[in-house]
Symmetry: C2
Subunit: 182 residues, 2 copies
């Protein structure tokens, strides 16, 4: 596996996240040597849909993409639905694209990419309910275990996590991708 020593990875989530979609990629990037940081519009702790509690380290309002080498967006329908309504979270996500940095997104995590308006011409997958929304935002939606498009890594459900984690680590190791842009 690639070595991510010295890399900083932000995870953006709020209450109702799909537990394994936070914990599993978090384990993968930290096992590879990266430092992971939980960013959220909430303060204190957030709770996953199955009860996992995670401590928020930086608020969305104070977080800046310049401090990180990449971003992971876990799913969970309530998590995805709420995050996209927080303007600071949307701006934080958009800046990773503007800075050409790798972004991993799974399940319902992709909705915020439509609000950030970063999907025109990109190829992506997601939980199937988002297909129309991502397509209408300009993306080409495909039904695959994992899709890699120049720094943008996407998967559909927790079943895809092994493939998702491997590609997230790989893209983080590669660093910036010029075609990843806002």
């Amino acid at each position: 596996m690639a070595d991510l020593t010295g890399k900083k990875v932000a995870f953006l989530a709020t209450n109702g996240f799909e537990d394994s979609e936070l914990t599993s990629p978090w384990g993968a990037v930290t096992d590879a040597g990266a430092q992971a940081t939980l960013v959220s519009p909430e303060s204190g702790t957030i709770t996953g849909k199955k009860g996992h509690e995670a401590t928020v380290e930086v608020s969305s309002a104070e977080a800046t993409a310049a401090d990180f080498d990449g971003l992971v967006l876990p799913g969970g329908v309530a998590n995805g639905d709420h995050l996209r309504m927080d303007a600071a979270s949307v701006a934080f996500v958009k800046d990773f694209f503007a800075q050409h940095k790798p972004v991993g997104v799974i399940c319902h995590g992709g909705w915020i990419l439509t609000d950030a308006d970063v999907l025109k011409g990109r190829t992506i997958t997601s939980y199937p309910s988002l297909r129309t929304d991502l397509t209408n935002a300009g993306a080409s939606w495909v039904d695959e275990e994992v899709v890699v498009d120049a720094g943008l890594v996407s998967s559909r459900t927790p079943d895809d996590l092994p493939a998702f984690n491997a590609k997230v680590v790989e893209e983080l190791a590669e660093g910036k991708h010029a075609e990843q842009t806002a």
Copy 2:
């Protein structure tokens, strides 16, 4: 209040509906004399996010818009997220537009309208998280208590139910609207 005697109104929902957004408009249309029917991709009973149980009378696969004078789409994020993935439910919704029949939609109920592709040029409101999705599907999104656009009645949250119910009953009483189309 308008008299809906002899009118048949379909309510389309699945598990996770916003309880009051099913029960309140249901009460309003039946109080006005209409017959209400619960349509769902699920059989037996469905349960709202707060625990209200409702008996499914017709499956989405067997339901046909020709049997009804109008449709109401309650919200609830899980309800809206799941319904849109059911092809029979999407086709059922689209047919109300093709037949120029009134449709009331509230909160997260509007997602399925993007999958039915019936929003080009229409004015609508919704729970705020859907704004980008409805806009990208061709609608003009506004932030108002209730919006009426030629047979399409929309509101944002349970707080809007009194205004929503009144306009749903009014549009059902008026009958078909030529500009309501698919």
